[in-house]
Symmetry: C2
Subunit: 235 residues, 2 copies
């Protein structure tokens, strides 16, 4: 018997139900009962929201997140896959392996000849890029900015320089409770003609899309505290 | 009466039917009859494949692609939107505004207070990134590489340097009939320890996912001629 497959399963960016997933994707997810997850609670909620027909007691979860990155035993996690069972990788929001540590799971699959099946879905990063009206032909996702203030300032300046020299759109994030501080720093640090797009609470009832030059952001008040937000600068 | 909305509608990466789209997305697309498109033929095929209930004669299409970028009159295109009608932006494959000129449409919408609704879906670029097992926390999409050989070599070297110095995954493309030549150049130019992932014909019956160090690519034959392909280097 050959190996099972590794399915890369998108979660919702905000909330959703089974009518937000295609019938073909649903039927695949309904056939899987073992998952590699960022958090068990969030995954159980997802499986419940899409009305997965298997009882919650019968799921098997393997935790894989920023806290146990280096101690996880992939051989153990993939034991059933090597016996022919399929497994799903699912993150707490959006598509797995983008802005989360999932790529190490996929790397293991490559090295062990396990077939990888990436499934299409929503990602706050790409929804934000689409909605920004910024150059989508060259762009960089920078992840989280450095915490240290001087390193952070340097990073902001280098991203802005990249926009000016090559036109490459720059996408980045912050821990949600520090969003307002980051916005304040952006307004103080960037050139007044630089265009900043903010996508906050994507797909939620309070979704915010605002695209303005820095000189207009100076007088535009917005509260991003604790709201998952994507920041984009470009031209 | 207020403005209508601009819906950013994903197309399939390969082929599909209405069972590949969620019920909620389908009901939105079914309510739209006016579209901004890269090509009319491909869009008609998409609308047919998802069984759009409106007769083909009753659709209105506005062409917007690399050939008429600078002569399109957005005021004309958005005339009905300003009267309250919704419009859809749809590209020939994958999500709009990524690796296509759609962002200018969205920029116009921002400047004219037209609400933008990005819809989740598949993109060959992100499916490839997910399937690569490369770092998905920092990555750059470089689009098409320069045609000129010396500029192209320089770009390849600078991407490789970026992978080595910052760990930022580098994604790029080529016109499909030149894929084999690009692969040859990659094998000759990059360091033997650099990891190259190739995703070709994503979601098609002949889909290829191969992830190897350059030293192994030297002895690995693969024909990418005319197959839409995403190239990724990283570690």
């Amino acid at each position: 018997m050959g190996n099972g497959k590794l399915y890369l399963i998108p979660n919702f960016v905000y909330k959703g139900n089974k009518n937000d997933i295609s019938i073909n994707q649903l039927s695949i997810i309904y056939s899987i009962t073992e998952f590699i997850v960022e958090s068990e609670k969030v995954t159980r909620m997802f499986l419940k929201s899409i009305e997965h027909p298997v009882k919650q007691d019968n799921f098997m979860f393997h935790l894989y997140n920023e806290h146990n990155l280096n101690i996880v035993d992939f051989n153990e996690i993939f034991k059933n896959v090597k016996l022919g069972e399929n497994i799903g990788l699912i993150s707490d929001a959006g598509i797995p392996c983008v802005a989360d540590p999932g790529s190490k799971v996929v790397e293991y699959a490559h090295k062990n000849n396990i077939k990888i099946v990436p499934m299409g879905g929503s990602s706050s990063i790409f929804l934000a890029l689409m909605a920004s009206g910024m150059n989508g032909q060259q762009f960089t996702f920078n992840g989280y900015l450095p915490l240290d203030t001087s390193k952070r300032l340097k990073k902001l300046k280098s991203m802005e320089k990249e926009v000016e020299s090559s036109g490459t759109t720059q996408i980045f994030m912050e821990t949600p409770y520090r969003n307002n501080q980051l916005l304040e720093m952006l307004v103080k640090t960037l050139n007044s003609e630089t265009v900043l797009f903010i996508a906050a609470g994507i797909h939620s009832p309070n979704q915010i899309f605002e695209r303005k030059k820095i000189k207009f952001w100076k007088n535009f008040k917005i509260d991003l505290n604790k709201i998952p937000t994507i920041f984009i600068i470009g031209n």
